[in-house]
């Protein structure tokens, strides 16, 4: 039951009601496992390891000869395979298929929810472009996360080494060290960094007490940060981190699982069998501002 899922749902292969329900249950738990993360984060490290084991959903095995596997499951399998390797042998990349993106902003919002982003902080806006003139008009949507550049211009400029590239290539910010000079914001050619000015949703609307949802701590970088007026991450540079806190739990980044058009893919470039490795070998692959020599790890299929 629920062992396979066609890339595109088709009537003939739709599973029975029962199977369907079971599948949905599994799928939902896979997708929303991140909701449990804060509970795990508050636990001691040994307990964490244990509870991670507990919450990790089982990935349905594909059955040979049953058509295309759901890319989410394939990516999850790729991800867990990569996690078996030492950190420095992983190279996480993201592939965004612009022809599939419908510009719904679900990823933008999912990211905001996952990382408890305050107003004015955004990790993954979706750029909207109108091409041509009536009657020959089309629209193009370009989600723009952090490119996790292989040669990031943002890290060398940081005076305190608060932002750096991890061994697996993810560019991170150490909130507790960052002095908030915003040099990295000016240095990023993609405007991928935002500064947390300490805004709150409820305050903005003249409500004086903060709503509980604004007080939920963020679990970014596997650390708990209560967001109060002058404490980190307020006053820090913030950016997309490929959801490291999820990846390390065997989960895909939140934007990837939320994408309604299956336009966003994620995986290990060092693994030739991963889905993303296959995708970036296509001729219609490109990167943003390649000419700057940043070698982005976010690719676009156009």
């Amino acid at each position: 039951m629920g062992k396979k899922l066609k890339g595109v749902p088709s009537g003939e292969h739709s599973p029975g009601m029962e199977e369907r329900r079971a599948f949905l249950k599994k799928f939902v738990s896979t997708v929303f496992a991140g909701v449990l993360a804060p509970a795990i984060l508050n636990a001691a490290p040994e307990e964490q390891a244990q509870s991670v084991q507990q919450v990790l959903p089982e990935i349905p095995e594909p059955e040979p000869g049953e058509g295309m596997e759901n890319p989410v499951f394939q990516m999850m399998r790729d991800l867990r395979r990569a996690l078996q390797k030492p950190l420095e042998e992983r190279r996480w990349i993201m592939v965004i298929d612009l022809r599939k993106c419908v510009g719904c902003n679900a990823c933008t919002v999912a990211c905001i929810a996952e990382n408890r982003l305050p107003p004015g902080v955004v990790y993954r806006p979706v750029i909207e472009e109108e091409i041509g003139e009536y009657p020959n008009v089309t629209r193009r949507f370009i989600p723009r996360p952090c490119m996790h550049c292989e040669h990031p211009p943002c890290t060398p400029v940081c005076p305190v080494k608060a932002t750096y590239q991890r061994a697996d290539g993810i560019v991170v910010v150490d909130y507790d060290r960052c002095i908030g000079c915003r040099y990295c914001l000016t240095a990023c050619p993609y405007n991928a960094r935002t500064f947390d000015f300490g805004e709150f949703y409820t305050e903005d609307r003249g409500i004086h007490s903060l709503m509980p949802y604004e007080q939920v701590p963020t679990g970014e970088y596997n650390k708990v940060h209560e967001r109060t007026r002058n404490e980190s991450p307020v006053g820090n540079a913030r950016k997309c981190h490929f959801c490291v806190h999820r990846i390390e739990r065997g989960l895909l980044p939140q934007c990837v699982v939320t994408c309604i058009g299956r336009a966003t893919y994620f995986g290990d470039r060092n693994d030739p069998h991963s889905l993303v490795s296959q995708l970036i070998a296509r001729p219609n692959i490109m990167q943003l501002k390649e000419e700057l020599g940043t070698h982005p790890k976010v690719y676009y299929l156009i």
Partner: protein, 430 residues
């Protein structure tokens, strides 16, 4: 300066300075929210003023080296003034960049986690060495006067002078005084010589903070640090001309000659600065790289066109040249020309920083970054204005105090008379 003017200036800057201190405390409590900066325009008024003051400092200092290192002896009377401005301007600049930090109290992280690939980290190092050097120079030049003032004063003043004199004793004979004076000049020359590369590092390096950012075509140019340096010299010379014209001993026979000489240096630096600016502009326009052109368009014909045309062109370039050409005989007008430059350069600093952010680095990004904290438009918030004016007033206040209580102009000249020391009458109240 007339006693009355001095008094009123002290009161005015004192009040404004207090407001400045209050606004800085408010800023530290309330966070960066009180600014109208955004993630797309992450640097604004405070950073512009930071580079303004660093430039003023480096300019004044390099100016002092003309005297102590490169032997422009006729300007010697303005030497201490230049060093004093260098110290105060540097402190002001650092203060501006400090309050601009999201976590000001983590500044010490720079010492513990110093990043050698960051120009900003190098700059902090440069500032530390530089300020030590300037302080040392100033001390050597003033030590005899300070010791003398310590011996002459009482109470609290005595304590302050005692602290400043660092236990130095007045030379008691003409011979030992001369020896001491020439030693001071020697040490100053050496410190000045060390200071030259430091000051170039300080301001050229501040320019490099911007010039290395390949994400911003307007900044990303080798000429940028040079423009910083030259405009620093312009602002330093402007400030010196102004200060000396108004604070120097007007009755001295060489007063006019010194102001004129200062003005001539100012004209020279200004000429080079304009040349560099034209080069930048023409090459930029010729290249027609959209992002580059957009910035120049914004500067010259955008919403804040007046910063360029009135501030940069009118106040900084045309005014001093006009005053110099037409009113060469009047120290007042040359001094005013210097003031026009020293203040007009602020608009140059604004135009060096902020316009680089007006174009979204990715087309159409501005259309989806809707929140005010993501906006590509910027105008300083009321709190940014108030705190900036307050801090500047505070610096002027400290300058006035230093001018009154420190031996900025006069030299302690002992004459050996019947075995007792008599210093030349010194009027520090001027």
């Amino acid at each position: 300066m007339a006693h009355k003017t001095y008094k009123w200036l002290t009161i005015l800057t004192g009040i404004l300075g207090t407001i400045g201190v209050a606004s800085v405390i408010y800023r530290l409590i309330a966070g960066m929210k009180i600014t109208w900066l955004s993630s797309s325009v992450p640097w604004g008024m405070w950073v512009a003023l930071y580079i303004y003051f660093i430039g003023l400092s480096a300019g004044s200092f390099l100016f002092s080296t003309l005297i102590y290192v490169f032997g422009q002896k006729e300007l010697e009377k303005a030497g201490r003034l230049a060093l004093l401005s260098a110290v105060l301007a540097l402190v002001a600049g650092l203060f501006f960049v400090w309050i601009d930090l999201g976590h000001p109290f983590r500044i010490i992280n720079i010492a513990f986690h110093w990043n050698s690939s960051s120009v900003l980290a190098w700059e902090i190092l440069f500032y530390v060495f530089y300020i030590t050097c300037v302080f040392a120079e100033l001390w050597f030049l003033m030590r005899c006067d300070l010791a003398y003032m310590r011996d002459q004063s009482h109470g609290f003043k005595k304590k302050v002078y005692k602290l400043l004199a660092l236990g130095w004793q007045c030379p008691t004979t003409i011979g030992s005084f001369r020896a001491c004076h020439s030693q001071s000049l020697r040490v100053t020359a050496i410190l000045g010589a060390i200071g030259v590369p430091l000051a170039i590092g300080v301001h050229g390096g501040t320019g490099a903070i911007f010039a290395v950012v390949k994400a911003r075509p307007y900044w990303y140019s080798p000429i940028f640090p040079i423009i910083f340096l030259v405009s620093a010299l312009v602002s330093g010379a402007g400030l010196m001309t102004f200060l000396y014209a108004f604070l120097g001993d007007k009755k001295a026979p060489d007063h006019h000659r010194i102001v004129l000489k200062l003005s001539q240096w100012l004209m020279l630096f200004l000429g080079v600065d304009v040349l560099l600016m034209i080069t930048e502009l023409l090459v930029g326009i010729y290249g027609s790289i959209p992002d580059h052109i957009a910035v120049w368009n914004q500067i010259m014909f955008g919403e804040y066109w007046y910063v360029f045309w009135i501030g940069q062109m009118g106040l900084t370039v045309l005014t001093p040249i006009l005053f110099f050409v037409l009113k060469k005989g009047s120290t007042f007008w040359m001094g005013m020309g210097g003031l026009a430059v020293a203040t007009g350069i602020i608009s140059v600093r604004f135009n060096l920083v902020i316009p680089a952010f007006v174009t979204p680095p990715i087309p159409h990004l501005d259309e989806v970054m809707n929140h005010i904290r993501l906006s590509f438009e910027y105008f300083p918030s009321p709190m940014e204005w108030i705190s900036s004016i307050g801090i500047i007033a505070l610096v002027v206040f400290f300058f006035l105090q230093a001018y009154k209580f420190l031996p900025v102009f006069e030299h302690y000249k002992p004459h050996l008379m019947q075995g007792t020391i008599q210093a030349k009458e010194v009027n520090y109240e001027a």
